[in-house]
């Protein structure tokens, strides 16, 4: 390998890790200032994924909210160095997965201390209502529900959310190789069912 080529490769790696670390660093420097941006960046992914792991969109909305509330509380207790080293999406998903599993069991809605004026935010049906029909939701709920939990989580995180395997490994607490195998087996079963 030429020197130029390897230097370019190193540069690329540094660039990539810098982009990721930027959010972590912002959170470590000033949590209150950076936190809204973290929610903006991750909320669609968390909601889309959780929606496939719990029975209703109301549950998914609650869990998405609760996930970020817990993320905030944990981050406000963490020292700056620990925040800088976090695999953010993997770690946030650990929390979201735990809450999703609990919700699938208990299905109790959380009481809120302050209720947002929803009229100020809703005009007509939500984005989900337009994009995915109730029928499609039911079908996917049944198909994914038929998979073992580990395969279902891994498939959803990989293909609905689009998470890299390394992040899924952090989120599920399993080895990257195991996660790959779970996704592979899960997809194979779904393909069989759809054919």
């Amino acid at each position: 390998m030429t020197a130029t080529k390897s230097a370019a490769a190193v540069f690329l790696v540094v660039m990539m890790s810098d982009t990721v670390a930027l959010v972590n660093n912002d959170l470590a420097v000033d949590l209150n200032r950076a936190f809204p941006e973290l929610v903006r960046q991750m909320q669609d992914g968390i909601y889309s994924g959780v929606r496939r792991l719990v029975p209703s969109s109301a549950d998914a909305e609650d869990i998405t909210q609760e996930t970020f509330v817990r993320v905030y509380r944990a981050l406000s207790d963490y020292p700056a160095d620990r925040i800088r080293e976090l695999n953010l999406s993997g770690w946030v998903w650990t929390i979201a997965l735990n809450l999703s599993r609990n919700a699938a069991r208990t299905r109790s809605r959380r009481p809120r201390t302050v209720e947002l004026d929803r009229d100020a935010f809703f005009a007509g049906p939500g984005p989900e209502a337009e994009a995915i029909t109730a029928d499609q939701n039911r079908q996917w709920s049944r198909r994914l529900g038929g998979l073992p939990a580990a395969q279902r989580d891994a498939v959803v995180l990989r293909h609905v959310v689009g998470l890299p395997y390394a992040d899924i490994a952090v989120a599920t607490g399993r080895a990257e190789g195991t996660v790959k195998a779970d996704v592979h087996r899960g997809i194979a079963k779904l393909r069989e069912e759809l054919s």
Partner: protein, 254 residues
Amino acid sequence: MTVEDQLAGLTTGAPSTVLPQVLLETGVADGFVSLEGPTGNMFVSFNSRGLSSLTLGTDATEFQDRFEPQFGRPVFPVTALPSRLGRSLEKTLRTNRLGNLPIDWSGMSEFQQAVLRKTAEILPGEVRPYSWVAKEIGKPKAVRAVGTALARNPVPIVVPCHRVVRNDGHLGNYYYGTDVKRAVLEAEGMNVGDLVERAGRGIKLVGSDTTHIFCHPTCRDARRTTERHLVEFRSEEQAYGAGYRPCLHCRPAA
């Protein structure tokens, strides 16, 4: 269409309520409601520390747009105040006294806090000059700074900055204009006409020739003095010179 493509197509946007609800629950943003106040509609914002702002007006969007640059965090509409805070605010608005209403003092300097807490001690139906507030907080020379601190009062009405008037007895400035200051004072039972008339004649203090005590004209003790026994003074020096002593309730400074 492959299974993978179908799964990727299940991505949806999170409901628009998620972000504000999370920011409210974590205290990264404040919530606000719209209420009927002494001069019409007003917006009241709050967080876990207490009431953070009170704004007279009718345009919610304008209120929201101005809040973030001023306080450094967003504010979102909520259906109601948290119940304890709501009850506490209701009592404050009914009695015109701050009482135990929690206020978010966190963004204020110690000086501004001292000014506002002292101002909250002025009873409804009474007024005090800026110099009185300055003297009471132990900064008798900081009269101008007291004016600035009151002008930046984030919670008018509940912390009654409208009860602080010019040292010559005239109503003086108010964020919402002198007419609103007059209306708020009249709404809590004050005879503003008398106040302005007396100020026009250069009268800053009044006394009783039976007790030989002098007061601010709106002190509840001064208001009990009958017309026949009421003596008017243009300054503290004049009152002392006549052999009068200051009232222990209103501790006059003019």
